[in-house]
Symmetry: C2
Subunit: 286 residues, 2 copies
C-alpha cells in the first residue's frame, strides 16, 4: 500500500506511525513545506521518503493534516493530482468550508472529509505517537459523496486503528465542535493570559500552579498557526459559544457579588454531572 501524508506533524505523524505498525509492507511518503519536519520525520522513521505532489498519482491513501487555511487551498490541487483509485482523507478541525472547497471538484468522490478528534497541545513530528487514535472518535462528513470502495478502504484503516466512527453533516459538525473543542481552547488561552498579566512574578505562577491550573491552562500551549485559521473558518459559531460562556461567567460573578451562595453551590452541583457524561454513562434525568 502506498500512503502519502501531507503535513507530517503531530496528527499526520501519528497516522503514519499507526499505519506503519498495522501494515508492515506500507510505503509512506511525507510531504511538508518544512524541510526540517521532513528530515525529522525521516530520522524518526515516521516516513520512508520525502516526496512532492508528483507522488500523489500513485498513492492508495493520502492523509492531509495541515492547518485549515492551507487545507482549503491545497485540497483542490491534491485532488487534481490523484489517480482514479486514490482516497484523500483530511483531518481538518473544521468541515463546512473544507467540504465547500471541493464540492464541485470533478474528483470529489476521491475525497473523504474527516475530523479525527485526537491531539495533544504539542506539535511537529516529534510529538507524533503510536496509538493516538485508539478509542477516539472520527467524525466523517458527507460520507455519501465518497466513492463506495474508497469509503471502504478508509474505514478499514480507521477500524484497524480502533477509532469510533460518527457521521455528521459539516454544518452540524462545526456547530458542535465549537462548543466541545474550540471554546475550550479559548477559555484556556484567556485563563493563561489573565494569570500571566496579573502575576508579574512568574515564579509565583509556577509555585502555586498545583491546584488545577495546569490542566485548565494546558490548551494555551497550543499552536497559534493551527488555531487562528480554525477560529477564522468557524468564526460565527465560536463567537456564539463565547457569548454564552461569558454570560454564564457573568451570572456566576453576580451570584458571588450578591452573596447568593446557595445558587453558587447549585451552579456547581448541576455541572458536576459532567463526571457521568465524560464516562459515557447514560444519565437518569433528575
Amino acid at each position: 500500500m502506498n500512503v502519502v501524508v501531507v503535513g507530517i506533524g503531530l496528527i499526520g505523524g501519528s497516522f503514519a506511525k499507526d499505519v506503519k505498525a498495522l501494515y508492515p509492507n506500507v510505503h509512506i511518503i511525507g510531504i511538508d513545506n518544512s524541510d526540517n519536519h521532513l528530515e525529522e520525520a525521516l530520522e524518526l522513521q515516521i516516513i520512508d521518503e520525502k516526496g512532492s505532489y508528483d507522488a500523489l498519482s500513485q498513492a492508495d491513501v493520502i492523509f492531509v493534516s495541515i492547518p485549515v487555511n492551507a487545507m482549503v487551498r491545497e485540497l483542490p490541487k491534491i485532488l487534481d493530482a490523484v489517480g482514479e483509485e486514490t482516497v484523500v482523507i483530511d483531518a481538518g478541525s473544521t468541515k463546512e468550508l473544507i467540504c465547500q472547497s471541493v464540492a464541485e471538484h470533478p474528483k470529489r468522490r476521491n475525497f473523504m472529509a474527516c475530523h479525527p478528534i485526537a491531539g495533544t497541545e504539542f506539535s511537529g513530528p516529534s510529538a507524533a505517537m503510536e496509538g493516538l487514535y485508539e478509542g477516539k472518535t472520527n467524525i466523517i462528513c458527507e460520507v455519501e459523496k465518497t466513492a463506495f470502495k474508497l469509503q471502504e478502504r478508509a474505514l478499514a484503516i480507521f477500524q484497524d486503528m480502533k477509532m469510533r466512527i460518527r457521521y455528521m453533516n459539516p454544518v452540524a459538525h462545526d456547530k458542535h465542535i465549537a462548543y466541545v473543542s474550540h471554546l475550550s481552547h479559548i477559555s484556556s488561552f484567556m485563563l493563561g493570559k489573565t494569570v500571566i498579566e496579573k502575576e508579574k512574578n512568574e515564579r509565583d505562577i509556577f509555585d502555586m500552579a498545583g491546584s488545577g491550573f495546569e490542566s485548565t491552562v494546558r490548551l494555551a500551549k497550543s499552536s497559534p498557526e493551527m488555531w487562528t485559521p480554525i477560529f477564522e473558518q468557524n468564526r460565527e459559531n465560536v463567537v456564539e459559544t463565547l457569548e454564552e460562556y461569558i454570560q454564564n461567567l457573568e451570572t456566576f460573578k453576580q451570584l458571588l457579588k450578591d452573596k447568593d451562595f446557595d445558587n453558587v453551590y447549585r451552579e456547581m452541583s448541576d455541572t458536576n454531572r459532567i463526571k457521568q457524561i465524560l464516562k459515557g454513562i447514560p444519565l437518569t434525568k433528575k
Copy 2:
C-alpha cells in the same frame, strides 16, 4: 508519634498515608463528621482508629483538612483542646479568614497556617493517595506566629514528604491563589455548564470530547461542598479575577467579530509562554 487527622478525605487521607509510610511507628487517629468516611478510612488502613476531640490533648501533630467554613468554626475549638506540645496544621485553600479566626487565641503559637497546593478533582478517603504532596508547594502563612520548635516539627514532616515550602502573608496568598487556582475552577465549571446547556444530546459531548475538553473541564467535577465556602471567603479577590477574565474573553470575542486575525494570533502566541512558566524555566523577555 501521635497524629490526629481531622477530616479524612482526599487531602487528610493522603497526608495520613504519607505519614504512615514515612514513620512506621506513628499512630493515626481519624476524626470526621461522616462515620462512613471513618469506616472507609479504617478499612483502607489510612487511620488506626476513630476518635473525637478528646484525643487532641495527646497528639503531637493535628492535621485539619475540612471545608474552610468548618475550618474557621472548628479551629478555635481544636486549639482549646490541644496540649502544650501539639502542633495544629491546617490545609485550607484560603488563609486570611482562617488566620483571623485564631489570631487572638491563647494557643495561637500551637497553630501553623498552611496551604499544601495539591489535590485532584476527586474527594473522600478512597481518593487519598500516597505521594500526592511530593514536589508540590506548601504555602505557609504567618510562620513567625508559630512556636519555633513546633515549626521545626511540622517542617520536618513536609521536608520528608518532599514538599517545596514558600512563605507568604495571608492577604497575598488569597489574592494570588484566586488567580492561579480559584479562577481555574470557575472557568472550568462554567465551561462545563455552557457545553451541557447547549448539547442536549449528551452522547455528542462524550463522542466529541477528545479534543481538549476533558482537561479544561476536569475541575468541574470538584466538590461544591468544598468550593462554595472557598469562594465565599475569597469573594472579593475571586470577583476581581472574574472581571479580568471576562474582559479578556470579551476582547478576544471582539477580535473575532472584527476579523482581526493578526491579533487573534498574537493573543495566542503571547500566551504560549505559559509553556516555559509551567516548566519553571526562567524566561528571557522578548
